[in-house]
Structure formats: C-alpha cells, structure tokens
C-alpha cells in the first residue's frame, strides 16, 4: 500500500506542473492591469510614474518566460512568493483564510453525512412508500435550491424570527473568531453557512446513497444473508451499507475538496473571510501570484482527497487491494 501511496504522490507532480502552466497562461490572457486597478480604482488621479514603479515592484514588467521560470522554481521550493496586491507572502494570505473555509467544509460535510446516509438508506429500504417520496422531495429540493439563495433566505429568516420572538433582530456575527478563542461566537457564525452548503451536499449524497442501497439490496449475497436468517438491521448495517457507501464516499470526497475553495457566493452572503472569497478577489485584481498559488492549493486538496477516498475503498471493501 505504501508503494501505491508513493506512486500517487509522485503522479501529483505532472498534474501540478500542468495546472501551473495552464493558470499562468490563462491569467495573462485576461485583459487588465493590477496596478491600474490598485491606483485608479477609486476614481482619483494618480502619478503615471507610480504605475511604472508599481509594475517594476511586482515584477510584471519582466518577460513572461522569466516570470514563469521564477514561478516554477518557487513552486519546487514550496515558495509561492508574495501577493502582487497586498505585498504579503501568499502563504500568509491563504493561512489567514483557511481556518474558516476548512471549518465550514468539515461542518458542511458532517451535516451532509448526518442527513444523507440515514435518509438515503431509509428511502431505499422504504422504496415507493410515502417516506421515500418525502425523502426524495427533500433531496430534489436540495439539489434545485442554490446555496447562496438558501443562505440569503436563512439569514433573513433568522433576522425576522428573532425580531418577532424577542423584539431584537439577530444575525450571525460578521467577523470570524477561532473556535478555541470563543466557541459559541465561532459556532454561531459557522452553523448557518454549514447548514446552507450541507443541505445541497446532503441532497446529492442522499440520492447516491439511495440508488446504491437499492442496487446492493438486490445482490445475491444479501439474499443469502436473509436465507441464513440474519436480522434485517445486521444485513443493512454490516453487509449492505458498507458496500453501498463506495460511490457515496467518492462523491463526499469530491464535494469536500470543492467546499474548501469553491464557496465563493456563500462566503460573500455570510461575510466569511474564506479561501473562496480570496480566490475571486485574486482573479478580480489580477493578482497572478496569489491566483497561481490558490490553484495549486486546490489541485493539492483534490489530489489528496482523492487519495484518501481511494484508501477508504480498501477499508470499505476488503476485496480491493492496492498494488
């Protein structure tokens, strides 16, 4: 298995290089100038010499090939450089945003697992009953509802409900405090976004759990287990669910990786200073170094998550061996 992990990690290198080349080229194809946005964005006048000085300071006045070689050389040394926008190390910019994104991703995944697996299983076991219909409506609602809309609605609902119940409108805090500093404030900020993204995530996973369970429950070995006289609870928990979870785990892995950098709109709705918002800002400001680093981070997260998912396969299904 260790050999398998080593191979997978080594395969990351060409993936990263390909992504690096792609993002480097694409960013430079977008028309615009970070210095112009920075100096002229407010509408006031500025010194034309400042524009030239700004270009020189961030190094965009050098030939592309020099910039690319420097980027790749930095990548090989795990040095992503400094943000062209803020002048701070890219790692500082990302690390400042990673905790909240990671927390929402983990909480969202917990919400999704907590909802999707039990409901998906029940839905499959009670196929074509009213329970199945209700669960499927709930799932389709989740898939059809955009997270940002749900986010806006949930904030408004909380505001109106609290105003109606206590006379004072309440909304989650708009600034992040780490959980170890103030757990209540932290959770009161994170819980609504987690439910918002978790619902959609749960809906997709619920559909997957249901269809996988339906398929597994028709397998010969389930019939054999029943013939042996095993109780239904044991058949479902020990034999059916574990096997049915293979595609669900794949889906959960992909969604988790997406949640870390992809919550662009949800982060804006809840004023979360997360990686998704940083990503948009970096592209908007044409901050090449920061965008490049964020793409690399996303690639690493996806590769790592997929690796974990693959390893989980072996645990869920002992027939799977890594070679």
């Amino acid at each position: 298995m260790y050999q398998y992990i080593a191979k997978r990690v080594l395969l990351t290198i060409p993936t990263l290089l390909g992504a690096a080349a792609l993002v480097f080229i694409l960013m430079r194809l977008i028309p615009g100038d970070i210095c112009l946005v920075r100096l002229g964005g407010g509408g006031g006048s500025f010194d034309p010499k400042a524009l030239v000085a700004c270009h020189a300071e961030i190094g965009v006045d050098r030939p592309y090939i020099v910039q690319f070689v420097e980027f790749i050389w930095g990548l090989m040394r795990f040095d992503f450089g400094t943000s062209m926008w803020s002048g701070k190390p890219v790692s500082t910019e990302i690390l400042a945003r990673l905790p909240i994104s990671l927390e929402i991703a983990l909480l969202g995944t917990a919400v999704a697992i907590g909802i999707a697996i039990p409901l998906g299983t029940i839905s499959a076991l009670k196929q074509n009953t009213w329970i199945d219909v209700v669960v499927r409506i709930f799932a389709i609602g989740g898939i059809a509802t955009p997270s940002f809309w749900l986010g806006i609605m949930s904030v408004l609902m909380v505001l109106d409900l609290s105003a109606w119940m206590t006379g004072t409108p309440w909304m989650p805090p708009i600034d992040y405090v780490p959980i170890w500093k103030d757990p209540i404030r932290n959770l009161s900020m994170a819980i609504l976004p987690a439910i918002t993204v978790g619902y959609r995530y749960a809906a997709v996973s619920m559909r997957m759990t249901r269809s996988a369970m339906l398929e597994v429950m028709r397998e010969d070995y389930i019939r054999t287990a029943r013939a042996k006289g095993l109780i239904n609870k044991l058949i479902v928990n020990r034999h059916a669910l574990k096997n049915a979870l293979l595609p669900v785990v794949t889906l959960l892995g992909i969604e988790f990786a997406f949640l870390i950098g992809g919550l662009v709109v949800t982060e804006q709705v809840f004023n979360l200073n997360g990686v998704g918002r940083l990503f948009v800002l970096a592209v908007q400001n044409q901050d090449y170094t920061l965008t490049q680093a964020l793409v690399m981070l996303t690639v690493v997260i996806f590769v790592f998550t997929n690796l974990v998912v693959d390893l989980l396969y072996g645990w869920l299904d002992p027939r799977i061996h890594f070679a």
Partner: protein, 530 residues
C-alpha cells in the same frame, strides 16, 4: 408608503444633527463596516482606496484638514498638527507652519517638525521605489523644510488656490521620520501614528481595531474606548448587520433603496445623513474613433440628455442627485443653474435641445448611429446611469448597447482605447476644483483622461485658470474652461453628481457627513449614546 415618507422626513431631518447640544458620553466600542474588500496595504501615501482611509485614519494625524465640525464646507481648513493656519508670504509662494509641541507618537516619543517635513518630502519627492500615489496633487510644491523643531516651511513653484486643499489630503498621514529613514515601506504593513486611536490588531482581509490613545493631544478626545472596523463588501450583509446591530454603520454611502429599507425596519433607531458627494460619472466619447472625432456628434450626445428632469427621477433609485458642471456643485467655483443652462446638455427646453441634437447628427452624417457604451460592473450608480443615458439617446434616434466589464478589463479598455463611448468617473479625496477639473485635460497631460484627444487650447485655458489667484477672475476662467470642454468641444458629458446617503444607528453621535467619503474619518469626535 406614507409612513415610510414620514420616517424618511424624520430621519433626514437628522442631516442637521439633533445631538449638537448634547453632552458627549465617554466609553464604548464602536463597530462599523468598511464596504469594500481589505485594501492592498495600510499605507495611506501609496493607496488610493477609501478602504485604506476608513481603516487607518483613526491612527494618524495630518498637518491640516477639513474642519471636522464643518465637514460639508469645501474650503474650511483647520490645523491638525499645526497651531494656526498661516498667512502666506512671498506673494503666496511661502507657507510657514508652526507645529504643536505636545504631540506624542503612539510609542511615546515626541512628534516634531522633522517628522512633518520628512513625510511631506516623501510625498512630494518620493525616494526611488516608493509610491506617492497622488503626486499630481502636489504639483505646485517645490520644497519642504523643517527650519527648527516646531516649524515647517513649504515653498511653492507658483501661488495657487489649489495648495491648501492639496495639503489637507486625507491620505497624507504624518509618519515618523526615524521609521521612514530606516524603511520607507514599513508603513505598508504596520501602523504607528499619533492619532486619536492606537493600533491593536489587523485580521488580514477581515477587520482592524484600535483603542483610545490616552495621550492624544486634543484634550478630552476621543470619546470612544475603542473601535472595530469590519470589511463587508456585500451591501446585503451591511443592511442586515445594521438591522441586527452587528455594526452601527458604514461611512461610504448607501443607495436610496437601502436607506428606505432600514428606515422601514428600524424606524427611529436609525438616522440618515445625506449630502452632495464629490463623485460624478461622466461620459467619454473616444475621439480616436469615427464619428466621435466630430464635435457635432459629441455635442449631439450631450444635447439629447435631459439632466434637469432625469436627476430627480434617478435620485429615487440611484445614489445621484444634483445637476452640475465640471466643478463640485457646492464649491464657490461651481456654475449656477443659469450658467449651466448656457451649456449644451443643460438647456431648459429639452425639445429644442433634442431638435438641435438631431440636426447636428444629420449634418455630421451620423443619423441613426449605432454604437457601444462601455461600462464598469458596479451597480451604483454606474449601471443606472448608463441605462438612463441609453434611453435618452434613443430619443434622438441613437441605437446604443451597454457593454459591462469587470473592473480589470474595464480599465484595460479605457487605457487601450478599445471603446466607442465609455462611462468614466471622477471621485476625488478632497474638493479641490482647480485640480479636480484636470480630468478634462488630454491624456498626454492628465493620465486619467481616456478621450484620446490632444487639445492645446484646453491645456492653455486650464493653466490660466489654475494660476489665477484672484477668486473672482479664477471663477470666470473656470466658466470659460467649462464652456469649452463641455460645449464647444464636448470632450466629455457630465451626469448628475452623486448623493451620499449614510444611515447609522441612532445611538451614534458626533459624526457629520461631508461631500467626500475620504475625509473626517478619524473617529475622534464620535460617541455612543448608550
């Protein structure tokens, strides 16, 4: 609706603050929002965004500033670090400022004239590799010297009324000489000033906070124990946050719809201050493209627009209000309504104006002209203005489509001249008409002009106006310049000037609105009635 109008009237009456006679209360932490993403750096000298000023002004002092008790005045300058406003000598070319001797830096060391002089030397003649973003403002300053520990002398290249406004630039924080000598980039990532609040913490991209400076040189100020400013780029978050009292206000300005919603939700728990805003959207035809090289076509574009009826209608949905010329409407140098009515695009008889527009278009062979109006992907008021303008132009037979671009590509389009006609804007930190109207100079002289034209007469008229020191003659020169750029050549077309609408929780006292969202942001006079 009637209730809403009643509340609106009640709240707007607070534009003349009702708390003026109240005794300020001390204490409390003031939480407000900065409606933007975090600024690139904390250095006021190199940045141009209001997000920098709203985040860092409470930590710094400046040499002179707009009177915080009268911030709506465009010309009431008072000392901050100096002891009294000086009278110039040498025919207006030498200004000697006496510096307060009771000012301490937040590290406890004394602030001297050497600090003030060094700061201004860096602003006017920055070291290589150091950005001084508003260098064109200081075009008249020749040298700055500290002649002793409490005296700073500015020598000008020429006398001009534009000097004091330039000196009152809200970004011109006074920095410590010792730090600037050691590392001119230090202030980009660090804060150390002599203002009413001491720096506590900057959470990257999220918030900044400060505590009361007990050694502040203005006795009794500030009233607050501290403040926290949170970056909230989305307007929906701001409204919800004010509603739920997560934050008390934001100081940039909100559109009428946000004001109305907050008044409806909060009633007397909210007050609103409003005023004209020193920002304006304008329309720039690309003179480098046909038929916009023809002044008749450009005049026709101006003549088709009904400013006088459009402005009040737009004010209901967009943050614009006052019809004006090239000078901020509240300034003594601004045109009166009668003077404006002499200029193309401001005629009182819109039918006559549009008939003339059609005639000019026909004469220029540009009847039924179709073109693209480039715009910036900013809701207020850009998209509203553009939609209105396109409708106005359709009334003289023009077929115009709007092309909305994100900020980066929009600026790229402006610089590269890849547009027919564009929405452009002018939003200056301080009302300094003589310099602000530089926007109408050709690009070779003024880098933020995107009209793609050269015009020596334009430059000569501007220089004559800038160098005129007699206010009456300068006003006449300004009228001639205005008539030339808006009518004779119609280099650009104005739209109504913006309206600044600042709703805040009623317990916030001591802040007065100004025509610029950059000034009066040190929070020293704010107190909380809680």
């Amino acid at each position: 609706m009637r209730i809403l109008h009643g509340l609106l009237a009640l709240a707007l009456s607070a534009a003349v603050p009702a708390w003026a006679d109240e005794a300020p209360k001390r204490g409390g932490t003031f939480t407000y929002m900065i409606p933007a993403d975090a600024p690139p750096s904390l250095d006021g000298h190199r940045e141009t965004t209001y997000a920098t000023v709203h985040a860092t002004a409470p930590f710094y002092s400046v040499l002179i500033r707009i009177n915080p008790d009268n911030p709506s005045s465009p010309s009431d300058y008072v000392c901050d670090l100096c002891t009294e406003m000086p009278t110039p000598t040498d025919n207006g070319k030498t200004w000697t400022f006496k510096i307060r001797t009771d000012v301490k830096w937040h590290d406890g060391s004394p602030l001297t004239a050497a600090d003030v002089a060094k700061t201004w030397q860096e602003l006017v003649h920055p070291d290589p590799g150091v950005l001084s973003a508003r260098l064109p403002y200081y075009v008249m300053i020749d040298t700055v010297e500290a002649t002793d520990a409490s005296t700073v002398v500015f020598k000008l290249k020429f006398a001009t009324s534009a000097f004091l406004p330039a000196l009152a630039d809200p970004f011109a924080y006074i920095y410590k000489k010792e730090i600037l000598d050691r590392d001119p980039h230090w202030y980009e990532k660090n804060v150390m000033g002599s203002g009413p609040f001491k720096f506590v913490d900057y959470q990257i991209g999220q918030s900044i906070s400060g505590v009361r400076n007990p050694d502040y040189y203005r006795p009794g100020l500030p009233y607050l124990d501290g403040f926290k400013a949170i970056f909230t780029p989305k307007q929906a978050v701001e409204i919800d946050a004010i509603r739920s009292d997560r934050a008390a206000t934001e100081f940039r300005g909100m559109p009428p719809s946000a004001r109305d919603q907050l008044l409806k939700e909060l009633g007397d728990k909210i007050t609103v201050q409003t005023g004209d805003w020193n920002c304006v959207d304008m329309i720039t035809p690309n003179h480098g493209r046909k038929p916009f090289d023809d002044p008749r076509v450009r005049r026709a574009l101006a003549l088709a627009i009904d400013q006088w009826h459009g402005a009040p209608a737009l004010a209901k949905i967009a943050n614009v209000r006052t019809v004006g010329g090239i000078v901020f409407p509240g300034s003594p140098l601004a045109a009166t309504k009668q003077e404006l009515e002499q200029i193309a695009g401001y005629w009182s008889d819109i039918e006559k104006s549009r008939a003339e527009a059609r005639r000019l278009l026909k004469e220029a062979g540009a009847e039924n002209l179709s073109f693209e109006l480039m715009n910036r992907n900013v809701e207020q008021p850009y998209k509203y203005i553009a939609t209105w303008i396109i409708d106005e132009w359709s009334k003289v037979g023009l077929h115009v489509t709007q092309k909305v671009l994100p900020t980066g590509p929009f600026f790229d389009g402006l610089r590269s001249g890849s547009f027919d006609v564009t929405i452009d804007f002018n939003c200056q930190g301080l009302i300094n008409p003589a310099l602000d109207v530089g926007k109408f100079l050709p690009h070779s002289v003024y880098s933020e002009n995107y009209g793609n034209y050269e015009d020596q007469k334009d430059i000569d008229m501007y220089q004559a106006m800038l160098h005129e020191t007699d206010p009456v003659k300068q006003r006449i020169a300004m009228r001639d310049y205005e008539k030339y750029v808006l009518d004779t050549q119609a280099h650009m077309i104005m739209t109504p000037w913006w309206e600044r609408i600042v709703p805040m929780r009623s317990y916030v006292r001591g802040w007065k609105i100004s025509p610029s969202h950059y000034v009066n942001q040190d929070l020293a006079t704010i107190w909380l009635n809680q």
